[in-house]
Symmetry: C6
Subunit: 257 residues, 6 copies
């Protein structure tokens, strides 16, 4: 794998990303509730510290740091200890923060990142930005400025975004954010054989090739693990795929006549 | 089953939840009218008292306590007696309650919960919160604060939510609530062979694995009972599933050529 | 059949309801134009008087009483005579009635119901409530209060509601009403073999089991008659069902290999 | 055929209506542009005069009477002559008419109808009512009052309504009108074998049974003619029907095994 | 072909129209970008001049006349020369024109038409009318008046309209215009065998029969040419048709059993 | 290939365009995030300089020039060097630019284009125009004026536009732009065999014929490369195509009867 990539350390994902994220890029991870967006981000931060000795920052606009400590613990990741070692900072800022404040949040993060030499950052979630502003144009400007301030500090970021639709679903609403980020990863629910599976798709990775297939993944006691692609289904991204014609053909065999 | 789980005592559900809810979590149960959300919640409270000697609170914003007594009675659960024994409290607060009041509702619940040593709480339904505020961001803050006040009191909660669409349906409208809860259980109607069945899906259980399959359930004279998964259907969560190709294959047999 | 049930006397329906409605409950009957909601309600009132000697009230917010007399007559039900005998009252109140008036309507109904010893009531239609208020939360409170005032008077009610969509259709708009009623019956159009059939589904019957199948019904010269369930179709509730795979299997037979 | 029915004289339709419309009823005819709503109405008026010697009125809110004369002429109906004979009146009122005016329009129509002894009326189109009022509740009241003033005058009316969707389509928007009329006939486009056919469905006929099948019709040089039902298609009312499974079964034959 | 028809001269279309448009009618041609609405209109004007010696007017609210000269040239039509001969006028009026101005535009057109003895007019596009008024009722009145002023001048008009949806699509938005015109021709994109074809459908031709089939057409170096109907597809007007069952039947043959 | 065409130099595309864009035309390239709209535009500019010695301009309303240098570098295109040679200019203007400014932007671009003798221009993206104005009519006028000022300068332009929907999707919202441009190219995601492919379709090329088929393309280390058309699928533009019936027929063979 390439040395100049920021490896996520998420099993199977770095291969899909041709080695990892590109340095100093902003990467959007989007999904409905329960798809593991925060886990994805925490794992990225944790692996940065443990596998690459890259200090990391977690910025949240809602959850208390305790929630992250607890969630991390359930995967065996001791975030309190990492904070004591100065490798990790979990920062919660008020969700009442105004647009002007958002810009100063950037400032606070820059200061902190510089102090601890942070290389990675998780912003969980960027949806709170959208909820603070009724004006999509102004918001895009603020988000774009925020992303650039992260890049200037040399940070490679994961930004999570909440997807309002449970099954399938294209987020027309907030989609302008997807245009300003460098990477864009979709997490989705897919109903297959009367059960709900989770699917991951790398839709965009600016400046690099990437896997195009839709992969199944699971949230295991060790975090997220990417598995094989879905087979024999059409319409996976709709959340409710159809069995493909191949299944018939395979079952009946190709006739010899 | 794990000892540190809050068992629901609902037949088949605790297995799906790997033993039950996690302590001090907020769990959303969502469904259209007639899917048994209140029954689900009452059964959770009743089983807590009867099977685990854990006092419980029921908070309602609309129905009079008498309705709960009557509904419970139809399942053989004597709620009046439990109230006399100090194991249960059914509290109705005015639906006209303002946002400020919602915060003080939290205060009232805290006091009551402490007095009676409550461990479980049913909030029926959280939809009334949404109807009281036109502002989704402010609402999320209030709901998040409300949920956290419940957790601080050591309560493990079920919050019901009304789903406006009868068959299938993704609740884009109110979906931010689903991001702040720890557990998320969907109740849905499914049309199969010219009849309406009920389906249950655990979509999210923060900090724990859980069953991913879509299960049929029934409201019996003894309360909710989870049954087997749906077989041979595609698109169950759409409410109007298709028969799967397998059915053909099975019928005609795999050709031997 | 159980004695403590309020039998509708509608052929085939009481069996679906395990004997009838539960006493002192509010039951919503919803459908698009032409599905016979008013006929359903009138038949319920007529059968109460004729078969069980239970006086009945009809409250309408639009149609003149004459329309009910005429419509009833076409089924052979002499409503004028029943009014003369003091067994029936058809009341029309102004559709311009304000929310405050709605509450006083409750008062008027209470008085009348007490005077004539009414046991059954038809409110045709509850949609007019919704049209009088722009505010869904306030409306729900008023409707809930209205329903409870009916129950307090010992009345078992049918509330009709107009469904705006012709084929299939989930009424997201007005759906909060469906949560506060005890029973919920859906009337729908279904296109089958190039014709429009009518379908009935009992979706909810609080405190009782009920049939879950989707039944065909017809409006005959004797009123509504429930018939057999639909066979061999998927997606009936969508209004535009598909033929099921079974049809093929049945036609070709299960292969013996 | 029953004597007390108002025969439309439209070939094939009176059979579907069990003889015709009921006297003193309001009947809605709804369809997208080009389905022949006005032709339907003119034919009803023309046949009333020619076959039953029943004078008729045509009220329009947009088209000049000349347009009706010209359109009628293309079917061989001499409207000018009928006006000269006092059997027909084509009235155009200003589309700028206010709600108050609408009520007075009722008055004007009453006067005219009485003078000429009119028995039938065509109101083309009722959509103009909806466009004049932003308030659906108030509109319904006005329309209801308007319909009743027609009935009081002994008129049997056809009200046309414009359907905004070309193929298929449920008019949720304006649907409250469909609840206050006595008859409801849908005209729809259906795509079959790469061509657009026209379909007619009687959805409602208060106080009478009626045909439930979806019929093909054509606009011929003699006016509208109802033809056979559609065969072997599912989802006709969607405008884009599917071939039915029967076609396969029929083609391959029922296996003898 | 009938002598009193206004032949479009578009290959294949006049047959579909039973000879052409009717004189002094307004005909709407609607389609998404790239379907050749302007080409359709220019060809109609050009053929009128060249084949029938009928002078023509082109009114545009956006494009400069130069654009029409250039576009026409690419089909070999020399519009500048025709203007010099007094057979053609291309008029551009400001898109900032107010509603009051629209009425005076009518006046200008009348004057010009009279001066040059114009028989045909292309208004490209009527969508600009809609964009100038927020009020659909007032707009309809203005458009209706505009159309009538064209008819009064003896003009037979083509009005183009922009369809906002690329594939399939019913224009509910602006549909009231379709009710006031005499002819209504739909241009649509259809995806067939991984390519985009163009489809034409005559939906309405007041006072005349017309072809009902959906025809493929192409924009050739000689202008628009209508070709054969689509075969073996269902749902063409959806833009994404399905292969029909016939294909199977044909392939496997009708079984002889 | 024709000499008077502006060749894009994008492999496979010029053939689809019958040689390239037409001179002095505005061409819209539209797609969701990650489909390579900017890459498409940069490649067009780069090839103009390298293959045809035509200086080029890039105008951006959001991204800093550095981002373009970096992105170009990943394809081996040295934009800094081209700028030093006076062949390229990358201009960023403020997204806060007002409508009045937009007009003056036109002025700035004209001046620059004249100075450097630019022949090609990329405007990335035109979506920012839409976000600056709430009024679609005024916007269309401004965009139309902007496009014309580019044409007046002899520039052949690519305008990119962001498509808000990920899979499939018709942009009804902003569609008026598509009517005023000369060329319209759609970039789309398509799910095939559990992976996401990219599809390109030339929908419009005013004044020229063009390929109508939907082609697969990839973003390679050398830029965009157009590949073969999609085979054996229906509904590609929906983003979630179905396998075609042909697949069955092919598999089973045409019966020999």
């Amino acid at each position: 794998m390439s040395n100049d990539r920021i490896e996520t350390g998420i099993k199977g994902l770095d291969d899909m990303l041709q080695g990892g994220f590109l340095p100093q890029t902003a990467n959007l991870v989007e999904g409905p509730p329960g798809t593991g967006k925060s886990t994805f981000g925490m794992q990225y931060i944790y692996n940065g510290i443990k596998l690459h000795n890259e200090p990391g920052l977690i910025v949240t606009f809602e959850e208390f740091p305790q929630q992250y400590y607890r969630d991390a613990e359930s995967f065996g990741w001791d975030f309190r200890q990492l904070e004591r070692e100065g490798k990790l900072r979990v920062i919660m800022t008020s969700p009442e923060v105004s647009r002007a404040d958002l810009e100063s949040v950037g400032g606070t993060i820059e200061t902190l990142a510089r102090e601890m030499g942070a290389r990675r950052i998780l912003v969980d979630s960027i949806s709170h930005f959208g909820q603070l502003a009724g004006d999509p144009v102004g918001l895009r400007t603020v988000v774009y400025g925020f992303i650039n301030s992260l890049k200037r500090e040399g940070l490679t970021s994961i930004l999570t975004r909440e997807s309002p639709v449970l099954l399938g679903g294209d987020d027309a609403e907030d989609s302008t954010i997807a245009f300003v980020v460098d990477g864009y990863i979709l997490l989705r629910y897919v109903e297959i054989e009367s059960a709900i599976r989770k699917a991951l798709l790398v839709l965009k990775l600016r400046g690099s090739d990437h896997a195009k297939d839709i992969r199944q993944y699971e949230i295991t006691p060790r975090g997220i693990e990417i598995m094989s692609r879905f087979e024999g289904r059409e319409g996976i991204m709709s959340g409710s795929p159809r069995r493909m014609a191949d299944v018939f053909v395979e079952a009946f065999g190709k006739p010899s006549r």
